[in-house]
């Protein structure tokens, strides 16, 4: 028997029992729909988190000095002063896998300007800092390498600072005083929003690293952190390794000696945040998959009823020359057509539901192609698994009994 003949027979007998066919498919429709929607919401949430973490900067590698201990008291990460301004230059010169690098010096203090004052975070950074953090200047300019060398007293303000001190009015050209030192405002940063921890990334004042180190803090040699960008996402690990080696050499660490710094990559952060969502998504998908299984049992149930009800039809077919395999395949293909059609409708329904979730509930949903492929495959598999027993029963019927069946 040709497969298309079997498909034609299956199609016509399913169409003859339209209501029943649709009700049978309902289980699969709901099951497949639920699986896809759950995955789509989960994947959407994951992408949201990834995007938020990416807004911290592209291919970001963060170097901090490690903890040290003093008299047996371990003092926590960043407590030792082991990162130097010259380390930044060494990384820039020697690490080929690093495309941009900047030291960071944190200075706290009250900022005075615009007839008011404000406690903000003042950061001394290099000109490449904005590139590393994928941040743009909204207005004005960023300070340059020349400002670094000259330790110029210039500042670039974050959007929240502008909002709080100048009421949103463009402050370029005005002067702010940081720890009594006047800095000229030369640029304003675009708004970046919340960081991964919920802190306001825009509440910041950027000044040249050298200016911060020499004019504001006084200890000119150290940096609190070093931020660097790897050339590509794929090269993150290699860049991290390269930086580790370079810094070890610069710090004259011998083999066996622990690093006096630690490098964390953004992908590690991403992983930490996404693993929770991943667990949640997996859990919900399993729940949805169980409903898919129930849908399969529904198919088996209806196919068994169908075999009993169509005993006479089977008898007629066998009498005119259908082999038992012909009957087996007829019912098996009916079950598979039912489940695959149900799967296809389920996919369509899932797209509709995702659309509603996205627009009305304002949640990101992502339907991945492989989920669609797997859904269709699983539907077909369910049809085969749950259709086999009824089809086998049908193929075993005795033609004489079947023809007499009322």
């Amino acid at each position: 028997m040709k497969i298309f003949k079997l498909l034609a027979i299956a199609q016509s007998s399913l169409l003859k029992n339209r209501t029943r066919s649709i009700l049978t498919m309902l289980g699969i429709i709901i099951g497949v729909g639920a699986v896809i929607v759950m995955r789509a919401i989960g994947d959407g949430a994951q992408q949201n988190i990834e995007e938020r973490i990416n807004s911290l900067g592209t291919n970001l590698l963060m170097v901090r000095s490690s903890s040290n201990s003093y008299g047996g008291v371990r003092r926590g990460a960043g407590s030792s002063r082991t990162l130097f301004i010259k380390d930044v230059d060494i990384i820039r010169e020697q690490c080929s896998l690093v495309s941009a690098v900047s030291g960071i010096v944190n200075v706290s203090g009250q900022i005075i300007g615009g007839g008011t004052n404000w406690a903000s975070q003042v950061q001394g950074v290099g000109p490449e800092y904005l590139e590393i953090k994928s941040w743009e200047i909204e207005d004005g300019v960023m300070f340059t390498e020349r400002d670094m060398r000259a330790k110029t007293k210039v500042a670039v303000l974050g959007a929240s600072v502008v909002e709080n001190m100048y009421g949103g009015v463009n402050p370029i050209g005005q002067t702010v005083r940081i720890q009594q030192t006047p800095f000229k405002i030369i640029g304003v940063l675009e708004a970046k929003g919340q960081g991964s921890g919920g802190q306001d990334q825009d509440d910041v004042v950027l000044v040249p690293l050298t200016s911060a180190a020499f004019r504001l803090r006084g200890d000119s040699r150290y940096v609190s952190q070093i931020y660097a960008s790897a050339v590509t996402v794929e090269m993150m690990d290699a860049a991290k390794e390269e930086m580790t080696q370079t810094l070890r050499q610069a710090h004259k660490l011998i083999n066996g000696q622990d690093d006096d710094f630690s490098i964390r990559s953004q992908s590690e952060l991403t992983e930490a945040f996404t693993s929770t969502t991943e667990t949640m998504t997996t859990f919900l998908t399993i729940v949805a998959a169980v409903s898919l299984l129930v849908g399969g049992v529904g198919i088996m149930n209806i196919m068994l009823v169908s075999v009993t009800e169509r005993t006479r039809e089977i008898g007629i077919r066998v009498a005119v020359g259908a082999r038992s395999t012909d009957v087996l395949f007829q019912f098996l293909i009916e079950a598979v057509v039912l489940s695959v059609a149900g799967g296809a409708i389920g996919i369509a329904v899932a797209y509709g539901v995702c659309d509603i979730v996205q627009n009305k509930l304002d949640m990101t949903t992502i339907v991945k192609t492989w989920i669609i492929a797997v859904s269709l495959g699983v539907s077909a598999l369910i049809g085969i698994v749950f259709g086999l027993y009824p089809a086998f029963m049908a193929s075993r019927l005795d033609p004489i009994d079947a023809l007499r069946h009322e």
């Binding site: 028997m1 003949k5 027979i9 016509s12 003859k16 006479r312 039809e313 008898g315 007629i316 077919r317 066998v318 009498a319 005119v320 020359g321 259908a322 082999r323 038992s324 395999t325 012909d326 033609p399 004489i400 023809l403």
Partner: protein, 246 residues
């Protein structure tokens, strides 16, 4: 030309709590072009005999040649193939697929045909429906047809694979007298065209339209004779219609 049916000492025993000997040794030969009725009361073994010669069942003992082929030892699937190629069935209860058009019903045996035929199934099925006088009812569904018309569709289905033998099991059992005459007229017409027909019935007035009567009792053939004053179903139908004023 080989004999259509040849049975040698055909026996069938059902192994129930007490063994039931449905056939106790039947020897029968039916040649091409014959029109035979098999008669007998219920329990005479005629249904069992019909199931065996229809290749729906296998004998316990004895041999059976259909159209020259020994078929008593074939497997289930091989028997399906023989039924498909050599036998056309007409049943008492019509046994058509419901909610299916006349044309599709007639096509059914061709769906299961293994050999590649040059003739298109649709064309062949339409031809057979024309032969039984239902050219204008091809697209009607089973439920839209009268009993007589349904049985004609069944006859067309029996004809569609050019069988060696048409096997009719009480074909007039569900039909009124007039429609029965009509159907027997059709059978006589087909037999005149050379088609071999075996008809199982318990009504002597139906058997008289055939050419030969085989009577069974207790699993044995007790009478096998030519019909002497054979009736003409078409003629009787005309007379019958005259009597009731149609």
């Amino acid at each position: 030309m080989p004999e259509v049916i040849q049975t040698f000492d055909l026996k069938k025993t059902y192994e129930l709590a007490e063994p039931v000997h449905a056939l106790r040794g039947v020897n029968l030969t039916i040649s091409p072009g014959e029109f035979v009725s098999i008669m007998g009361a219920s329990g005479s073994g005629k249904s069992t005999f019909m199931n065996i010669i229809g290749c729906l069942d296998k004998p316990s003992e004895g041999t059976y040649h259909l159209d020259g082929l020994p078929v008593d030892s074939l497997s289930r699937n091989e028997l399906a193939e023989i039924r498909n190629e050599k036998i056309g069935f007409v049943f008492q209860g019509f046994n058509l697929l419901s909610r299916t058009s006349a044309l599709e019903n007639v096509e059914l045996p061709l769906v299961y045909q293994r050999k590649n035929s040059k003739v298109k199934p649709k064309v062949k099925a339409a031809e057979c429906l024309k032969r039984v006088g239902l050219a204008d009812r091809m697209d009607h569904h089973t439920q839209q047809l009268s009993g007589g018309q349904q049985q004609r569709v069944a006859v067309a289905r029996a004809l569609v694979n050019d069988p060696a033998l048409i096997l009719a099991d009480e074909p007039t059992g569900n039909l009124d007298s007039r429609t029965s005459l009509d159907l027997m007229g059709l059978f006589q017409e087909l037999n005149d065209q050379g088609i071999t027909i075996v008809l199982v019935t318990h009504e002597p007035e139906i058997a008289k339209f055939t050419k030969r009567v085989v009577e069974m009792r207790d699993g044995l053939v007790v009478r096998d004779s030519e019909i002497e004053d054979r009736g003409d179903a078409r003629k009787e139908l005309e007379e019958f219609s005259g009597v009731i004023g149609l």
